[in-house]
Symmetry: C2
Subunit: 333 residues, 2 copies
Amino acid sequence: MNTNEMFSAVEIELKKQTARLDAPHTKSFYDMLTYHMGWTGAGAGSTATGKRVRPILVLLSASGCGADWRLALPAAAAVELVHNFSLAHDDIQDNSPKRRGRDAAWVKWGAPMAINVGDALFVLSNQAIMDLKKNFSAEVVVAAAEILHNTCLDLTRGQYLDMSYEGRSDLGVDDYWRMIGGKTSALIAACCHIGATLGDADEEKQQAYRSFGHYLGLAFQVQDDILGIWGDEKTTGKSAASDLIEKKNSLPVLIGLEKKGKFAKRWAQGAIAPDEIGEIARLLANEGGLLGAQDAAKQMTDLALSALRSANPQGEAGEMLLRLTKRLLGRQQ
Amino acid sequence: MNTNEMFSAVEIELKKQTARLDAPHTKSFYDMLTYHMGWTGAGAGSTATGKRVRPILVLLSASGCGADWRLALPAAAAVELVHNFSLAHDDIQDNSPKRRGRDAAWVKWGAPMAINVGDALFVLSNQAIMDLKKNFSAEVVVAAAEILHNTCLDLTRGQYLDMSYEGRSDLGVDDYWRMIGGKTSALIAACCHIGATLGDADEEKQQAYRSFGHYLGLAFQVQDDILGIWGDEKTTGKSAASDLIEKKNSLPVLIGLEKKGKFAKRWAQGAIAPDEIGEIARLLANEGGLLGAQDAAKQMTDLALSALRSANPQGEAGEMLLRLTKRLLGRQQ
């Protein structure tokens, strides 16, 4: 088992699944989709495609349960298509002009077209998961599809919470966990759960894989929040502390607000200018926002590693899952 | 078998399926969805819900093939949820402020929230179709889901074409059929196809049902186009000839443009004011737009009825399908 082989198999499967949209008379529509996937247009390439962490988690989870990872490729494509669908709509909803360093699809083709690109990606994810029928019984296909669909409902709930939090000043840490539980963690949990289902794991093992993904997703998001305020601009690739300027309800901020100290007072006063960032980030760190978030990240990481031990993935996939977890959660970017 | 019983069973099933979103902390999100479905908020009721033609077609097709229509209810809900998902996004994409006489969801809650409402409806449709597993084998569930997913890809293609046609003056009748084939007809074809699949019809019969739905959808859309220009405002409920003001690429217009006569000349000159409508509608009728579209509607209706004869639905469902077809295609509104 070789990571490069897995990555290129995922890319081939994604291209196969999305080729369903490649038809006469709708070529430009297909072009929008391949641009958003990172394959075509200015800046296409590995930075534009993203890391494809989710499909790899499906494949490693299936393999860890003893299945041939190649048989799980349609499910791997499905989760990555769901992820990309959510990004396409998210960029419109957040009015974010950039995605992975390139113009977002809505900037290039307008929101109406980009909504439709997101919708098509979502449909393609449904078609991809059904393609499992080539390798698995119809019962297993239905089980995997149900995990994916339930997860997508969680995604829409997380997205709703995220949007409804905007501009609110009464949010606490509980609200945070609820929101990222849907928005970030649900799909990562589903990747591991689907992989275990395809590996014919029993219910207990499936739940251990799911739990691993759940905490991995939470830890990952918390770390992302920390980097969004105190990360090194050069390594994160995004402007340092931009999360403060955007007044994002990240975990460090919510921990800081609960202190009701100087940070909370300044936060309530409204917009933050770029030249205030350094001072406000220091204020937040002094009032426990950094340490509190680091604690939470460590706690979630420990829970993820403990769930991974319960899942007890076999063979090379087991080592690779552990390595991937450590790399994701130890990342500087 | 009683139509009222069927309609109320559809409504109950739709409420059951959408109740998945009814959870603590996301109540307002659920309220947006029930508003869009026509159940809650100002103007709620049968006008706001729409006619629920699509779910009824699923049930009658299943019943016509000898199945108990009640077993097909999850699929009936699924197609109606797909329809409502597409309307939610369509209203944003078209910038249409009204839906069935009420403010569109995006007008009430903004486009970002309304995109998410559409996404949730789409997810719920996927969950609904999987619910067939309570009544059918996993193989049948997968077959029904695949028909639905393939149809949804056609919908996004039709939507793309519709948006890409905007402002173009070089379109012909072929472009029209391609667009409404995806946008209107694909889902109606899927309703009948899924119904026949649930009724365990053989491949040939499934295709006859599908073909019936396909032509029914085309005939319905052409008739809608005719009413959108020459319909009676009092009976259609929308301002007469608003399709001309919106410069919609409807079939009568495209037939008129192909004549390259006075109508085409006026159309190319740009915006149409309300006080010009009467004259331009007359011009279009004089140059064959009305007769040509009526001919097409008649042709599609004949093809639908012929396919229905081949499908040969049994019992009361057969009579009801014929009655529904005649009512839909003979409608004045």
